[in-house]
């Protein structure tokens, strides 16, 4: 038996434990688990994960990065911070989901059993140091999400979204694992560190296999993070899935997938930088431009945010493209700041979407800020943050990855990405404009539940606070990346 560092895997264990506990409580209690209890449990689990990640951080800061369970799991600054982000995202996603669960057709225990387990999958990905483990984490996460996407029985779009998500997600997984097989064939191992050592110590005369494998791995990841041209599923799925689930997708999935992608590229394939950079270059250019342009023509705000998140994925990929410490730190910082913002945005959407979660036309937002100034202003701040206006974290997120890209000699691609951001400005601003429009559409007042309100407030406060003073987060991301497991 390999030695096991339980501190390293504690977060995943906590989430899985919470998931199973929810399941068991719902099975063993006479009355179905109330949403309040289930949400509290999930929030608690998220907080414990966050606390654990702090403990891990102390450990890593003191003893340096390490790997455990026969090098399948790493405990390094990067994984710790990403773990913390997932913990925070989970807390916020639970809060957002709460109001929807209270009024919706979905049983809270089902929702949380699945979402907690899926988050555990994301944690597995974040810490994985082996292609097979990444694959399994990816599947835990994805399978949970397929079901979560199908949960809303009131709308048939929900199950259809799940089917589309499932088919293309499965396709992506198959491509990913095929890539892993080819990389295994080229290097003789599936362990990322071992691949890295092997490639550092050996020169492949004809690295065709490795190139093909690496490319397929990238394609698999590109599907998962919805980078153009592998994004076709995401608008439909974002639209069809229940709004809290969409928020979950936009945050937790992105964190997990990007963390794993970074680890694969930095830890295993860093010697192949010249090979994978052009691929990422294309992905960045297409994602930022197409994501922004397609968002312009949407009327459904969830589709709009889907394309917007494609645009953001392009930016995060920019940090990946750099392939430097600065790039990884930039991408990590982006994830840290983007997750709360996008979750809070979907929190507002879930509220405005109505009891049946099916009214997501942009017209519903007309005059919202006039009727409910606080809610409207909150959404405006969140949108401006996504747009990348200074004094919000969105600006520094873009700044971090752009800095890395320019540092790595990527002036042109940075410029392309920024032009994508400028295009994106159109639809964020159009939306903000609608919020403050003078002739409000006759709609009911949006009731803001306490939980959702808290989540939205968290997102807004986080983006403004760290927008004003990004120092701590930036330093954290920087240190985290410096403590990267080799």
């Amino acid at each position: 038996m390999p030695s096991i560092d339980y501190l390293a895997i504690l977060p995943a264990l906590v989430l899985l434990g919470a998931s199973v506990l929810t399941l068991m409580l719902s099975a063993l209690l006479r009355h179905s688990l109330s949403a309040r209890v289930a949400t509290s449990l999930s929030v608690l689990a998220g907080l414990v994960v966050l606390a654990t990640s702090v403990a891990q951080w102390v450990d890593v800061a003191r003893h340096g990065a390490s790997s455990t369970i026969d090098h399948a799991v790493v405990l390094d600054g990067f994984s710790v911070v990403a773990t913390g982000v997932i913990g925070v995202s989970l807390v916020m996603a639970s809060l957002i989901a709460h109001d929807w669960l209270v009024r919706g057709p979905v049983s809270a225990s089902h929702f949380y059993t699945l979402s907690l387990a899926a988050s555990a999958g994301a944690l597995v990905m974040v810490q994985a140091n082996d292609l097979v483990v990444i694959f399994l984490g990816l599947e835990i996460l994805s399978i949970g999400l397929y079901v979560l996407a199908a949960l809303d029985r009131h709308r048939s779009a929900s199950a259809e979204a799940a089917l589309k998500y499932f088919l293309l997600g499965g396709f992506a997984s198959a491509i990913f694992i095929y890539g892993a097989a080819l990389v295994y064939g080229a290097t003789g191992t599936t362990n990322l560190s071992a691949i890295g050592y092997f490639l550092a110590g050996n020169v492949l005369l004809a690295p065709g296999l490795l190139v093909a494998g690496g490319a397929l791995l990238l394609v698999g990841f590109a599907f998962k993070v919805a980078a153009v041209p592998f994004h076709l599923w995401s608008p439909d799925v974002y639209e069809g899935a229940p709004t809290p689930v969409t928020g979950f997708m936009a945050s937790v999935v992105k964190v997990g997938a990007f963390a794993a992608l970074l680890r694969v590229l930095v830890s295993a394939l860093s010697s192949q930088l010249t090979t994978w950079r052009p691929i990422i270059w294309v992905l960045v250019a297409l994602s930022t431009l197409v994501g922004a342009s397609m968002a312009l023509v949407q009327r459904n705000v969830k589709r709009m945010l889907a394309y917007s998140s494609i645009n953001h994925a392009g930016f995060i990929l920019l940090g990946v493209w750099a392939g430097t410490v600065r790039g990884s730190a930039g991408a990590l910082f982006y994830l840290m700041t983007y997750a709360p913002v996008v979750l809070a945005s979907f929190g507002v959407l879930a509220l405005v979407g109505g009891a049946r979660d099916d009214s997501h036309d942009i017209d519903r937002f007309r005059g919202l800020a006039r009727r409910q100034p606080v809610l409207g202003a909150a959404l405006a701040v969140l949108l401006l943050s996504q747009l990348g206006v200074p004094l919000t974290t969105g600006f520094y997120a873009k700044y971090g990855v752009l800095l890395a890209a320019v540092d790595a000699g990527g002036g042109p691609i940075a410029l392309i990405a920024l032009i994508g951001a400028a295009i994106a400005a159109y639809f964020y601003l159009r939306w903000v404009l609608a919020l403050y429009a003078e002739e409000p559409i006759e709609t009911d007042r949006v009731s803001v539940g306490r939980a959702s309100g808290l989540a939205i407030a968290l997102g807004v406060v986080a983006t403004l606070l760290f927008g004003l003073w990004p120092g701590p987060l930036a330093a954290l991301a920087q240190h985290a990346t410096l403590l990267f497991h080799p």
């Binding site: 068991m24 099975a27 063993l28 209690l29 006479r30």
Partner: protein
């Protein structure tokens, strides 16, 4: 999958080829004859239990009745339903037959002989994955039933197919888990090794060694896999006319019939192999005939289980479909999981064993409560799957399964 049979130890000479061939042919012949006997045996035994006489006209005690029936069937008209899927309809009976025979190939029916200087095991093949082969074949055997029912293009056979597939998946897990326990104590997947490990005395038989529970689980699961009574909801005459083979007649029907009994014999043999030491037993010290006794032991044990199946059929009422499902999912699988824990625990140490037992008991308590609550809730809402038992004959359920025109 050739494995480590000692017969190959001298290379693949002509003699070896011959031995292998003979082994194959003999096994096939024996099995076929056994089936014929089995059919007779079943009819006879059932008749006795029901205070009837049973077949008596052909041959002594009606022994040749089966052959007569066979001849009759072969000459009957071969019907092909209009709605049938012709290819699959023809293929299905053979799919049902083949797994039974292949499974029999891994059963050791006796010890090791020495023929012309070659050590020969009385077993057609001894692949290192032997018991997995059995699992694989039992997995495949369902295709015959499923495809036959579907290919008939008729309502009741289709329902039979659906039931067969569901039942099959439900019991496969329990079956596999009980086999895992055997593999745990044996440390090998080969049937030869499994038998060898039970050789010395009745206390080494797995049925005793593992506690009786795995055996019971296996017996129930295998009965369900075989679609034998009391788990024959697939061919429940009162509900589904004849089940999957309603539309079959003549020779193809004969093959189904053959397959069913062949499977019964094979599975009896497998039970003996896995739990009752196979050919193990007391061997009198008779020169040159020592090799016969294991075979006799094996035959005796197998016959006993064949009889047990007949007895089940005569004595037990058929389960309702939902009861079949409940038994599989809610009783057998948890039970086998728990028992597996206990077995594994005891293999480590006694204290581990008791610990695991306590854990399993605790889990069992929780499960029981969960099931209780669950069935209470289901009264308000329908079950996970609509029950494909007596109730689904309600018209809307049938339409859901088969009728296409209405939706179109």
């Amino acid at each position: 999958m050739i494995g480590v049979d000692p017969v190959y130890s001298h290379g693949l000479g002509l003699a070896v080829w011959l031995i292998i061939l003979i082994r194959l042919v003999v096994a096939f012949a024996v099995l076929l004859n056994a089936v014929i006997l089995m059919i007779w045996f079943e009819r006879k035994a059932i008749s006795d239990m029901q205070s009837r006489i049973g077949p008596q006209r052909w041959g002594p005690f009606g022994l040749l009745q089966t052959i007569a029936d066979g001849i009759k069937l072969i000459f009957k008209e071969d019907l092909m339903p209009a709605e049938a899927d012709r290819l699959v309809f023809r293929l299905a009976p053979f799919l049902a037959l083949i797994p039974g025979f292949i499974t029999f190939a891994i059963v050791p029916v006796g010890g090791t002989l020495t023929i012309a200087g070659h050590p020969v095991r009385l077993q057609v093949a001894d692949p290192p994955m032997g018991i997995l082969l059995m699992l694989a074949m039992s997995g495949i055997s369902v295709y015959g039933v499923m495809l036959a029912g579907w290919a008939s293009g008729s309502k009741y056979p289709l329902i039979s197919s659906v039931r067969a597939s569901a039942q099959m998946i439900s019991y496969e897990a329990a079956l596999g888990l009980s086999i895992v326990m055997i593999v745990l104590v044996t440390g090998s997947l080969s049937t030869h090794d499994i038998v060898a490990s039970q050789a010395h005395g009745i206390w080494n038989w797995n049925v005793i060694r593992l506690g009786v529970v795995p055996f019971v689980i296996f017996l129930i699961a295998i009965t369900a896999e075989l679609n034998r009574p009391p788990f024959d909801v697939v061919e429940a005459e009162s509900e589904l006319v004849g089940g999957f083979h309603t539309e079959y007649s003549s020779f193809r029907f004969a093959i189904f019939y053959l397959a069913e009994f062949m499977n019964t014999i094979t599975m009896s043999a497998i039970i003996v192999t896995l739990f009752f030491g196979g050919p193990a037993g007391w061997v009198p010290n008779v020169a040159h005939l020592r090799w016969v006794f294991p075979i006799l032991w094996f035959l005796a044990k197998t016959t006993a289980f064949a009889f047990a199946y007949i007895w089940f059929r005569a004595a037990l009422p058929r389960f309702r479909y939902d009861q079949v499902m409940d038994l599989g999912w809610k009783r057998l699988i948890p039970l086998s999981l728990g028992w597996l824990l206990v077995v594994a625990g005891f293999l480590i140490s006694v204290s581990w064993g008791f610990g695991m037992a306590a854990l399993a008991l605790f889990a069992w308590t929780l499960l029981t409560r969960a099931f209780e609550l669950g069935s209470g809730r289901e009264r308000g809402a329908e079950a996970v799957l609509p029950v494909i038992g007596p109730r689904p004959l309600a018209p809307e359920a049938l339409r859901e399964l088969t009728d296409e025109d209405e939706e179109a």
